[in-house]
């Protein structure tokens, strides 16, 4: 990965570059980053994972939400160097080559997106909720997504999508438990 810095003649001292090791969607990575690089930029530009969107860039909208060690974080409000030693999950890690994640299916089935800009952040926040609470109430879903803004849907279908995914995941875990016994 290459990042190019401006060379302001006469005022550029050494760019302080740090080497970090981290995991993205299960793959181990090493990156050399300037400390002021934001995690969102490392993900989008450095790793080319453009599923993580930059919305407001001011910690409000949640479009850039990724999971850091399983917990949602706004990647525009973390320095890339802070990912050192940590595990990052992005929306690209949800689907497998052949199958959508139930959350992605849910958003499709329940029409949980219109423009789609907030969707990756919504799904990552929802994933953290469902990992912790497989059977959330509508109220639980609304609170868990309250750090993510959507300007299109009015949230109704987003909440339905997450509840749809929760039901599907529960059904899957029940049937796999049954087939396992």
């Amino acid at each position: 990965m290459t990042i190019v810095y401006d060379d302001h003649e006469g005022q550029t001292t050494d760019v302080p570059v740090r080497r970090i090791k981290f995991t993205v969607n299960g793959e181990k990575k090493i990156a050399e980053v300037e400390p002021r690089l934001l995690l969102s930029h490392l993900i989008r530009r450095g790793l080319g994972l453009t599923g993580t969107h930059m919305g407001c860039d001011t910690t409000n909208c949640g479009a850039c939400t990724v999971l850091v060690d399983g917990r949602p974080a706004k990647s525009c409000t973390m320095l890339a160097v802070q990912a050192d030693g940590h595990e990052i999950s992005t929306v690209e890690g949800l689907a497998t080559a052949s199958e959508l994640h139930p959350l992605q299916e849910g958003f499709k089935e329940e029409h949980g997106l219109q423009c789609g800009f907030c969707t990756p952040g919504m799904m990552m926040a929802a994933k953290a909720l469902l990992d912790e609470n497989p059977d959330p109430t509508e109220e639980d879903v609304r609170w868990a997504l309250s750090g993510n803004l959507c300007r299109c849907t009015g949230y109704q279908n987003i909440v339905k999508s997450v509840l749809w995914a929760a039901a599907k995941l529960r059904a899957e875990s029940t049937s796999s438990a049954e087939s396992g016994s």
Binding site: P16, T58, P72, K74, Q82, D84, S146, G147, N148
Partner: protein, 293 residues
């Protein structure tokens, strides 16, 4: 938006962090949760030359009660830890009420209570809560450790009394002398917005008499406001409709709201009064129920 260029260090001990700050010149900043500092740096309101990230310092993510009931909250204790804390739910009603109202759930995963106090934003919810509870901040530096009452800690908007080479290592809430009650009410336009009005009430009662009262206000002045006269009016007697009314009036007078896009000064002052009435009446009902039982 990028922060301006800075040197970044991620020490693994407090002593190392303190010596980095000590040698770091005039403009070093401590990075804990980063949910206020990183946005400020991106907007170039803050351009530190050195950022000392304390996230790798072990043993700072605690919140625990001493045997005597004193509550200690470490510098890396995140809002989410406090939101989910059984200790707070059972012993700290004002804090337990405020924790789920801080910022939004994603920010709460990273942001810290101690960082919020240091940030000293007049809109910061925790500062009001800690002020109402008579809490303090423990700072450690090359010259040792000192406890600073929150009332003296914040000197103005975004200003605290920490020396450049000091780190706020924990917040301390003193043990209650009586039964704790109280709460935190916040009026916000949407989740994650700053408070239009926030009111923290912390009471301690013993044998039906209020032995200690603290009331503090968020977002209705240039800094966090302690309504000391209102608190005094409640202390040393049982809660009554009359004393509640008096405290609400005195608190509303202590507010210094300004008209802005969140509401008019009159509206905010009215909401301060309403919130104090609600919080204290609730306490009054609990007290009545307790005595009846």
């Amino acid at each position: 938006m990028y922060p301006s260029r800075f040197r970044y260090e991620a020490p693994r001990s407090l002593n190392e962090a303190i010596s980095l700050l000590h040698d770091g010149g005039d403009y070093a900043k401590v990075l804990a949760g980063g949910q206020s500092l990183v946005p400020l740096m991106k907007l170039r309101f803050a351009s530190p030359q050195l950022v000392v990230d304390i996230n790798n310092v072990p043993g700072l993510d605690y919140h625990r009660a001493d045997p005597d009931g004193t509550l200690r909250i470490g510098a890396l204790c995140r809002h989410v830890h406090l939101e989910r804390s059984d200790l707070l739910k059972t012993t700290q009603p004002t804090m337990a009420a405020a924790a789920p109202l801080i910022a939004d759930p994603i920010v709460r995963n990273r942001g810290t209570l101690v960082g919020s106090l240091c940030h000293a934003d007049p809109q910061g919810d925790w500062a009001s809560v800690v002020l109402a509870l008579g809490g303090s901040v423990v700072a450690r530096g090359p010259r040792g450790t000192r406890a600073i009452p929150l009332a003296d800690f914040v000197t103005g908007p975004f200003e605290n009394v920490l020396d450049p080479d000091e780190i706020a290592v924990e917040a301390v809430i003193p043990a209650a002398q009586g039964t704790r009650s109280g709460g935190y009410l916040k009026l916000e336009r949407r989740v994650g917005d700053f408070a239009t009005v926030g009111v923290a009430v912390a009471l301690e009662t013993s044998g039906g008499t209020v032995t200690r009262a603290g009331i503090a206000l968020t977002g209705v002045g240039g800094s966090t406001i302690g309504a000391t006269e209102a608190a005094q009016a409640l202390t040393g007697r049982p809660l009554s409709a009359e004393s509640i009314e008096q405290a609400a009036e005195l608190t509303a007078q202590a507010a210094r709201p300004r008209t802005d896009h969140r509401g008019s000064a009159e509206y905010k002052r009215h909401m301060v009064r309403t919130f104090v009435l609600r919080l204290l009446s609730r306490g009054n009902t609990a007290e009545t129920a307790e005595r009846a039982a």
